[in-house]
Subunit: 387 residues, 2 copies
């Protein structure tokens, strides 16, 4: 495998910043206040698995003009200094008396206009990654009414991927494709599902994943109970359907798709359901292009998998994808997001064959100027058989 | 490898619940409101990697008497039903109009006393995992003044591990021990650090990890720049110190320790620093027992690694460990937490040999009735050499 270029040129970050600043101008925000891993990384390129530690908060201020300001624990200064960010302010965290709040307040006072209105991501799929007590202290110090919604600026910017980002997601998909192609090496009758999970992660790493950020799945006669369960000790049995759903990470970007396999011979109902799932994702793929809505993709699939019942307990039939395993938008009836070139989506139809026996299929696509392209290699037309 | 028992008996969860309810009674709380992965799992056993998806919020209400109530997206109902929790209320998420808030408000009205005071984890290391807009809607609906701090109940309960939890952390440590013992198979002069990272994760999986939740490290002549950087393409060179710091996951519990290796011959300053690091963790280990404070462990190490300067930019010299890679307490001067039997800690002294040339060493220990035990197999006395 030839190594792919890592990171992004500074121009990419400047473009993201400029796009954010233009939107801030339109909605009357003087700054954005960001605290989560993807938000900070989107504007800085700061990539580390250290966010797995919940101890320390990390902050980024984006003024409406000028460069971003990182307000971060000193343990991150060395790594942040390798990014394009030059204004890096640190404190020695954890500090039980004041874990970055005063440094934030001072930075806001120094760098933003008096009474600046500061946007904070507040809508669905967003979180605030700092202790509530620190948040209350921050709002108390600068005035709670100055901290307002970010008007979904982050959500809307991140939903449309650049060519650089698409290349990274494509590479993650290719790594998972190659791993799924080798499934016969590790999954067969008698192998405990826990071993399949472990061995599949090894395949993903061998095929070039930086790490395996997500793996779930299931196996059972005629389907599986859900799609989020971790590994269990039960061995694969003839008649099972095995499903693995993975998010491998390449340079900070995810794929997210699954593949189904028959262990020996399965019920005809399973083959029929599989064929309908593929028809559903085919239909959505054919329909996907700029100007179509997320809701229309949902309808195309829902009519095939539920006869148009309006959805199931899974809640949606696909979603955005990128720096996180799942991103805006959702393929649900209520999502009227208009698709644009550069959006990366999963198509994820599911069918409940019987109660507790579900089949779910998933592909990754990117919206292009004229339609859509697969990023995952589409699943085989017939449910593949394993021994 | 013989499979270890998974999960916990119901009695373990009932004990955790009872301990929380006793404390709620003492501080006058009628319920706890929980939203993060470890908080929900601590009381339910709900274990899934699906939290990697930021889309859906998940909630758990712990009344001051009676069993917990799960208020969760319907996609999780099947898995939650396999836990000991029986009161499971679901909505079909994502719901753009009302993503669980009304269901929460109704559940609170039905299950808690009128004007109940509800504790929310708010201090350091805690987050609220739901959109700010939903949080504001919830507080608006039930009265903002009813949502108060949890008085650190979660933090204090989770800091003391049960024998079942310690066994899981011990197993995670053993898996990492075996993986480090095989480092010579994958790391040598000329191998790019990115390949070392990838291959080391494969070793961890081969040795039995459920997944590799964390891997960071560094390599450089005479030390590395920090301990949180992801893999880079640079090949290992003679004279480098290689450090890998890993958190492998076994049944939802982490280890967190690192190991250092010399590539060929390194400067004598490196060997000297390594010896001092081991002396520091030895001293802290000898000192560790019930009644000693986190701050005292810090002092024991700090006097050796900085001559008593009071710390460095890393911010601390160790921390708690368990369901998360890092947990309460922190080994810093300000942490007066009194150690108790059952606390699991990392001892993590670091030395800056030259600017940008750091060496960090880390062990995992558990506090016992009379002292402490190593969970990681202590590092060799002399810096191990690789080819």
């Amino acid at each position: 495998m030839s190594p792919k270029p890592r990171g992004f040129p500074e121009a990419e970050f400047r473009q993201r910043l400029q796009a954010a600043q233009e939107r801030m101008g339109v909605v009357g925000l003087d700054a954005l206040f960001l605290s989560t891993e993807p938000e900070v990384r989107y504007f800085t390129g700061f990539l580390t698995r250290f966010w797995e530690s919940p101890t320390r908060p990390w902050f980024l201020l984006l003024p409406q003009s000028g460069d971003p300001i990182a307000v971060i624990p000193s343990i991150g200064a060395h790594l942040m200094a390798q990014s394009w960010i030059t204004d890096i302010r640190t404190w020695r965290a954890p500090d039980y008396d004041d874990d970055g709040v005063t440094l934030l307040v001072d930075t806001i006072a120094e760098c933003l206009p008096a009474k600046a209105r500061i946007g904070v991501p507040s809508g669905l799929e967003s979180h605030l990654r700092m202790p509530l007590a620190s948040w209350d202290a921050l709002r108390g110090a600068i005035g709670a009414r100055r901290m307002v919604s970010d008007h979904a600026i982050l959500r809307d910017l991140r939903a449309v991927k650049s060519d650089y980002e698409i290349a990274k997601i494509r590479e993650a998909c290719t790594i998972a494709d190659r791993s799924f192609a080798r499934i016969g090496e590790i999954a067969q009758t008698g192998v405990p599902l826990a071993d399949v999970f472990r061995q599949f992660q090894i395949l993903c790493l061998e095929e070039g994943a930086d790490w395996v950020g997500y793996l779930a799945g299931g196996a059972g006669p005629g389907g599986y109970g859900d799609v989020i369960t971790p590994a269990v000790a039960r061995p694969l049995c003839p008649g099972d359907v095995l499903m693995l759903d993975t998010g491998v990470v390449h340079d900070g970007y995810y794929c997210d798709f699954d593949r189904n396999f028959a262990i020996g011979t399965v019920d005809r109902a399973v083959d029929d359901a599989y064929a309908r799932l593929l028809e559903a994702s085919d239909q959505a793929f054919t329909c996907a292009r700029p100007g179509v809505t997320a809701s229309e993709l949902f309808q195309r699939m829902d009519v095939i998998v539920t006869g148009g019942a309006g959805g199931s307990d899974a809640g949606r039939l696909g979603h955005g994808l990128g720096m996180q395993l799942t991103e805006w938008p959702s393929l649900i009836p209520a999502d009227e997001t208009v698709l644009k070139a550069g959006m990366v989506l999963t198509l994820e139809p599911g069918i409940e064959i019987n109660p507790g026996q579900t089949l779910v299929h998933e592909e990754n696509i990117v919206i292009t100027a004229t339609g859509a392209e697969y990023l995952s290699t589409p699943a085989p037309r017939n449910l593949p058989r394993l021994a």
